[in-house]
């Protein structure tokens, strides 16, 4: 809760800095503020005991509304790190709307607050509010490049789809409440385990799940994803692909694992959805000609992998979700850091634009290569260990799904390598790209992250218990 308040104040301060018209103050303020909040969250996360989820019904959970337990702290920390890295890219990323930079930062921070509310929510009302606080600034951010018709289109699509999803979510919540007489997580948990579950509750749960799948982008509810990701300004896409996705997955995981995680009847449809998501994401990604759209489909596929952890609820499953999302976030931000540079200086994101990057910009090419290899799951990078951990835990549940996931990982190598080949084996067609100091710092940090998570997974896992 303290972190949330601090973050809100930071966002409001960013708005006021906009009033002062002092360009120089803004970025240090945001970075320092985010670092401070991160420290607060980490310090809190270290104090928490081993179990991920609070036992409820105590005063520290704000009348069963919001519980900043270890689960929430870990995911909040992850989102904060992601936002911190993205903010460092913002010098170049927000160039399309130079005059409204403070507002863009403030909206991003507001959205982040929504993400924290989501991961800590233990009540359907809080979940709903979190989703809205996360989404509404994201709709605006998606359309913040008003001169670009693609950005406007993306914002409208995102907004309309999001609004419908919200309607479905609310309908589902109402039905769940009608069925169980409770909206808090522990009430719903007790109801779903100990009594005859009514059809109304099931229908409600179905709708809530559909809405959450929409937000995460699980097939067959993924259609909005690629268009929105492509049209949105790249820096905002990187935010959507990492923070928004992480928050949605974490919140779904908390509710899913605790309310219906024990019920096999729910699993089977989700298992099929997971398999479908992987295939659609990976197969469609192979036929893309643009790097950004390829990343959009690959992010859909990755959401499919994460679903595997949902079917074997346990401490290890929670750890594997955290680890997977951490690896995915770091790699994705690295990809976008390079993409932003390429897009701005080459005016497109075709694979040809990456030609010969290894000769002209070795650091960017090296980082992007490692990030893509990590996404594909090549050892010894973070992605490999994340996948290994996820799959080995999931084997107990649905072995055939793991096989599907492995086949899909193999497919993914194909399209990730297209960029790598373009960078290393094609001759440069254009003059070298120039990356700013902060961009280089981000590249180095993500590089370090990929290696640390890959070579010393124990660091994060020990922290997770």
């Amino acid at each position: 809760m303290k972190a949330l308040i601090a973050l809100t104040i930071l966002a409001v301060l960013a708005l006021f800095v906009g009033l002062l018209k002092s360009r120089k103050l803004l970025l240090p303020l945001v970075l320092l503020g985010l670092a401070g909040v991160l420290a607060l969250v980490m310090q809190y996360g270290c104090q928490c005991e081993g179990t991920f989820f609070h036992q409820y019904l105590d005063e520290s959970t704000y009348r069963n509304m919001f519980s900043f337990d270890k689960f929430a702290a870990v995911f909040a920390g992850m989102m904060l790190v992601a936002t911190l890295l993205i903010s460092m890219l913002a010098t170049d990323g927000f160039i399309y709307n130079e005059s409204h930079r403070p507002e863009l930062f403030a909206l991003m921070l507001f959205s982040l607050c929504g993400g924290i509310v989501m991961v800590g929510s233990t009540h359907l009302v809080m979940l709903f509010l979190g989703i809205e606080i996360l989404s509404i600034p994201a709709y605006v951010l998606a359309g913040s490049n008003q001169r670009d018709s693609q950005s406007n289109e993306a914002a409208l699509k995102y907004f309309l789809m999001g609004a419908f999803t919200t309607g479905i979510l609310l309908f589902g919540i109402a039905l769940m409440y009608g069925g169980s007489g409770s909206m808090s997580l522990d009430g719903l948990m007790t109801y779903s385990r100990h009594s005859e579950v009514s059809g109304m509750f099931k229908a409600g749960m179905l709708m809530v799940l559909i809405a959450m799948c929409f937000k995460i982008g699980i097939a067959p509810f993924h259609f909005w994803g690629p268009d929105v990701y492509e049209g949105t300004p790249s820096i905002i896409t990187s935010y959507m692909a990492t923070v928004v996705k992480t928050a949605a997955i974490a919140a779904t995981f908390r509710f899913f694992a605790q309310i219906i995680g024990h019920d096999a009847a729910w699993m089977i449809s989700l298992v099929w959805m997971a398999a479908l998501t992987m295939f659609i994401g990976n197969l469609t990604a192979t036929v893309q000609s643009g790097f950004k759209r390829m990343l959009a489909y690959s992010s859909i596929a990755h959401a499919g992998y994460v679903l595997i952890a949902f079917f074997t609820p346990s401490l290890q499953a929670t750890q594997s979700v955290v680890f997977y999302l951490a690896a995915y976030t770091v790699a994705t931000i690295a990809c976008f850091a390079v993409l932003i540079g390429v897009q701005q200086q080459r005016k497109n994101d075709l694979f040809e634009s990456f030609n010969g990057l290894a000769k002209t910009n070795p650091l960017a090419a090296f980082t992007l290569t490692l990030a893509l290899l990590s996404l594909a799951g090549i050892p010894p990078l973070a992605g490999f260990f994340a996948k290994y951990y996820l799959f080995s835990n999931g084997w107990a549940g649905y072995p055939w799904l793991i096989l599907v996931a492995i086949i899909n990982s193999a497919i993914s190598i194909y399209y990730y390598f297209r960029t790598i080949i373009a960078m290393w084996f094609h001759e440069p067609t254009d003059e070298p790209l120039s990356f700013s100091m902060l961009q280089k710092v981000v590249l180095l940090l993500t590089l370090a992250g990929l290696f640390t998570l890959g070579l010393m997974p124990g660091l994060l896992l020990d922290f997770l218990g």
Partner: protein, 175 residues
């Protein structure tokens, strides 16, 4: 008496709800929707939730729908402006809506509604009790929602403000 009112209000809200969907002119849709809101507010009053009823009317009928009408009137949308949807789209819509209906009817048919939901405390909807619930049990969501409004407001201002670079070169030359 209350039961009769309930059925009348339900009938009105369903019929006007259908009119929202089937009306050819967008203005008629909006007006039907307003009537639907009134019928729903009536349901709230039957549940003794007067505060909710009147706030529903003030917010939805009094503010949001007026803005809807505003936009429709200013854009001059009418029957001719309605885009023609092709038959495949309509069919898909009908099928998915029917599927949803089958699912819901199946789920709700004979489902047991627990005591907790049925035991409606008739004084719950009064302002005083509502305030107690809102500012005690639900104080965290209440406060958090201010964040939502702040964010939405900042977003609306950002989208609404004229982009400085939207001023074209010719306009600059004029200056």
């Amino acid at each position: 008496m209350i039961e009769i009112l309930f059925y009348v209000l339900s009938f009105v809200s369903i019929v006007t709800g259908l009119m929202v969907v089937f009306a050819k002119s967008p203005i008629h849709s909006v007006l039907s929707l307003i009537v639907t809101f009134f019928a729903i507010a009536g349901q709230y009053i039957l549940l003794n939730a007067q505060f909710l009823a009147i706030v529903h009317i003030i917010v939805y009928a009094g503010a949001i729908m007026v803005l809807f009408l505003f936009v429709l009137m200013l854009l001059n949308l009418n029957k001719e402006a309605e885009p023609n949807k092709d038959i495949a789209m309509k069919l898909a819509g009908v099928i998915s809506a029917s599927l949803l209906m089958v699912t819901l009817t199946g789920a709700l048919h004979g489902s047991v509604v627990p005591e907790a939901t049925l035991a409606v405390n008739t004084s719950n909807g009064l302002v005083k009790n509502l305030g107690q619930v809102l500012f005690k049990d639900f104080v965290v969501p209440f406060e958090i929602s201010s964040l939502l409004f702040l964010a939405a407001m900042a977003g609306a201002v950002l989208l609404g403000k004229k982009h400085p670079s939207q001023i074209t070169d010719s306009e600059i030359q004029k200056i």
